[in-house]
């Protein structure tokens, strides 16, 4: 029985990296979005420029479930290297679309799926003479074929092609032609549309499709970042690139061409964070974007920024670790190395956006927090949030919002004789006042150092001032608890003793898993952590539930460790649900793992349990 589904299926494209498939696949995804059907696209790509396998998945989801679902209903198998595995991964009753130019033995094609062969290579060889054109237009031809098979309005695809090649108009007509070739060929070859299909809907609303890295960089623009120092590393590179792109559009003086920002590609991550710290010390809002290996390299400087109390913002787009690990796969495995970065007693502030919306919001807010707390702020993205496009509410900005520069003493205040001690806790919140270099001719200068010092920034090796300073830093950390975004509670429809703690890119899958579980009678209160250090709600939530699951995407249950460390809760109270193979966590997995552990619940594992 073929799988059926209107606006509810998963299609996966198996391609060869560097073959030009990415833009064709995006065209396909966006045309569905234009028909008003929510989508969740994801890229599964290799650490390679050309030749290795790459996959692109589009989940069409009328319900608006934007997490990865797991499983493939339709495979567009364009890569001979992975063909057998790709065919094997199709759900029973699913569909295979492939290039039938070279005959494939029937034994290789399953009997329990619908097989749709189109001689794409032959068609392109017939239609085009240039080898590169044959390759590139093959992608557009299959988009045309899929439009016919899945009932996508061809007019929407044509409109998008027009928009995509605006300014390169000579490319429009040949692309439209390729699209039509595929569309007409499929119409004549197959019975269109299939039982899985797209229908015009209004479920998208005003939502946008954005990558988290783009959103975070845009947040940095809105948050007033002027200095960006970075070193290229997957999957964070597009943060710096998007910052540059947006600044070039929004922060260049039209008359003079002068830039109200400075971007330096540093020689390594150590220099990158050093520049950020130098700029932060000197009163500019500065950030770096990196990933796990970069965080490892920055450790010494992060201790300096913590101890000398210098504002800095880091966007950590997490990937699979340790070491080089899985550079193009996603994980949430830098939590402890960021929270406790550097030697000695250190604690750092972390923010956990759940997608592009919060990546923008936190991306801007991190700069206020860094100034308010005079310490590094880590915005913890991951590859899934950062490099995949996500459907989210449009970005919003309140024009009355002003930058909060924290406690900066001005020349006028110094002139009036206000007492200045760089590490003096005058307000009782652990946050001292600072001066920006160059402020006043004779007052307010101080010496910044990573060595211990007294309240007036004078070098000392005595025990009492050292302890005094370290304890004030803890008070400052408690102040952070009150300033940070609160956790969000997703309450079960009925009272329950089961709680789930989750964060970051797990959000969409967790929301869906909670619905799945509720439909089976397992009700969970779910609390989404948005920042570290934790507020009082976390402890209360754990105390109010008998069994608390902590869902995270790493092997060692790092968030669970942080919870027990920061809140002093009994580790036995927290049950780890872990996923760390580098793919985005799915609702099916969370549902299965929780169901298997809920006391007194023995629901049969449903057919999706294999995924």
């Amino acid at each position: 029985m073929p799988i059926q589904g209107v606006n509810d299926f998963v299609i996966r494209f198996a391609n060869v990296n560097g073959s030009g498939s990415a833009s064709a696949n995006l065209l396909f995804a966006r045309s569905i979005l234009r028909m008003g059907a929510p989508i969740a696209p994801r890229n599964i790509f290799p650490s390679n420029i050309q030749g290795l396998p790459t996959w692109y998945e589009v989940r069409v989801t009328a319900q608006g479930h934007l997490g990865a679902r797991g499983g493939t209903d339709m495979m567009v198998a364009m890569n001979p290297q992975t063909f057998d595995k790709d065919v094997a991964s199709i759900e029973p009753g699913g569909y295979l679309f492939y290039d039938s130019s070279r005959p494939i033995p029937a034994a290789k094609l399953r009997g329990d799926i619908t097989v749709l062969g189109m001689p794409l290579t032959d068609i392109c060889t017939r239609e085009y003479s240039e080898p590169r054109q044959r390759q590139l237009f093959k992608n557009i031809v299959y988009v045309g074929a899929l439009a016919a098979l899945l009932d996508i309005e061809i007019g929407e695809v044509e409109k998008l092609i027009g928009e995509q090649f605006k300014g390169k108009d000579r490319l429009i007509a040949p692309n439209l032609r390729a699209l039509r070739i595929g569309y007409e060929d499929a119409k004549s070859r197959f019975s269109c549309p299939l039982a899985i299909r797209v229908r015009r809907s209004d479920a998208v609303g005003d939502r946008i499709l954005a990558e988290g890295n783009f959103a975070a960089a845009l947040g940095a623009v809105y948050g007033g970042a002027t200095v960006c120092a970075w070193y290229p590393i997957t999957p964070s590179t597009s943060v710096a690139e998007a910052f540059e792109k947006n600044c070039a559009r929004l922060r260049v003086d039209r008359a003079t061409g002068e830039k109200r920002y400075a971007i330096v590609q540093a020689e390594d991550e150590i220099a990158a964070i050093g520049m950020v710290i130098g700029a932060g010390w000197n009163g500019a809002r500065a950030f770096t974007a990196t990933s796990g290996p970069g965080i490892s390299l920055m450790q010494e400087f992060l201790g300096l920024a913590y101890f000398a109390e210098i504002p800095a913002v880091l966007f950590d787009v997490q990937r699979g670790g340790p070491s080089t690990g899985m550079p193009t796969r996603t994980q949430q495995s830098d939590i402890l190395s960021c929270a406790l970065a550097s030697h000695g007693d250190t604690r750092h502030v972390l923010l956990f956006p759940d997608g592009p919306g919060e990546a923008f919001e936190f991306g801007a807010r991190a700069f206020d927090l860094a100034d308010q707390l005079q310490t590094p702020i880590f915005v913890m993205l991951d590859l899934d949030i950062g490099m995949n496009s996500h459907l989210c509410a449009p970005f919003r900005w309140d024009d009355s919002r002003a930058f909060d520069r924290g406690k900066v003493m001005t020349a006028a205040e110094l002139e009036q004789g206000r007492e200045f001690g760089r590490y003096l806790d005058v307000d009782g919140d652990g946050v001292p006042w600072r001066t920006i270099p160059g402020t006043h001719p004779t007052k307010g200068a101080y010496f910044t150092r990573g060595t211990s010092r007294d309240r007036y920034a004078r070098y000392t090796e005595e025990g009492d001032p050292y302890v005094d300073n370290m304890e004030r830093l803890l008070r400052k950390f408690d102040t952070a608890r009150k300033l940070l975004p609160r956790p969000e509670l997703r309450k079960a429809r009925q009272p329950t003793r089961i709680g789930v703690i989750y964060f970051g890119s797990t959000a969409a899958a967790m929301d869906e898993a909670a619905e799945l579980l509720a439909s089976e009678g397992v009700h969970v209160d779910a609390l989404r952590v948005r920042a570290f250090p934790f507020g009082a709600e976390l402890g209360e939530f754990i105390g109010a539930h008998e069994q608390v699951f902590v869902v995270e995407q790493n092997r060692d249950a790092q968030m669970r460790t942080l919870l027990t460390m920061d809140l002093g809760v009994d580790p036995a109270q927290l049950v780890a649900i872990l996923h760390f193979d580098g793919t985005p966590i799915t609702a099916r997995l969370i549902r299965r793992e929780i169901a298997a552990r809920v006391r007194g619940f023995a629901a049969p594992l449903t057919q999706e349990a294999v995924s």
Partner: protein
Amino acid sequence: MSYLAKPKFQHPALSVNALGFTHRDYEGAISTLCAGCGHDSISSAIIHACYELSLAPHRIAKLSGIGCSSKTPTYMLGQSHGFNSVHGRMPSVLTGANLANRDLLYLGVSGDGDTASIGLGQFAHAMRRGVDMVYIVENNGVYGLTKGQFSATSDKGSKSKKGVDNPDTPIDLVALALQLGATFVARGFSGDKTQLVPLIKAAFQHRGAAFIDVISPCVAFNNHEGSTKSFDYVREHNCALNALDFITGREPIEIDYAAGEGRTVAMHDGSSIRFHKVAEDYDWTDKSAAMAMLERHRARGEIVTGLLYLNDEAEDLHARLNTTKRPLNGLGELELCPGSKALEAINASLR
């Protein structure tokens, strides 16, 4: 107690500079380095240069790494903000600070361990980026705070205090700076303040990466017989290529040298450098000549001092990035935040 504030009183007749500051206003805390340390002479030369140039102390930012040399910013320019960062990483911190505010003057103080060993990479990249700064290496060829290990600038065959010969080839930071694109390259000797003070003054007026390697003997660990960085050795082998006077626009040029003995060169900012004691017919604008000359003297076992290379038309990092003339740290919401209207257009492009 490891921080010794200097008493505030001063002689009432102390002369003042154009800003009304006395020499005392450019001093810092009392040095905790060893008595007779070459580094203290360099601090004193920096203080002297800043006083004579009438630089506003609060418009100078002094940054350093870790080591004996990196402690010295505490002992000078007490009215300036200072930053004693991490080992070998002063250049990146200074680069960031410079990006934040292009209007301050930046002094980076480092040592041979801090720059030639752990910090070689950051040194190289600050030079090639043309960061507008005065980069002074207080070069004693030895690790002082950890008591006498060779550094990367120790000459091959130089003897340690314990009597061991250094087996490795030294790094010549001046040669490196030249190759890496520094636009002001000089070498001084802590024992020759007459030569050093004008070099520092000229470096402060230079807009671009100005590098001065100052040989600064370590009295505790590297001032013995057999060391090539001892006071005696450096005095005997010092080949002073030139000595100079740095003349700002406001000062009248006093000619007290016979014709043919010196040369006065006008700089683009209205100041001028007058060279005298010229060792040979040397063209300091010719980089390849500078390289060849360094190598020639090195082969003879001589240490060349003086201004070795100057490109007066240098372009600094800000010019290369085309950043606004206003310091970035002074920009507010109006200049930086594009607002909700711009965001609507961005949202529309993402549908």
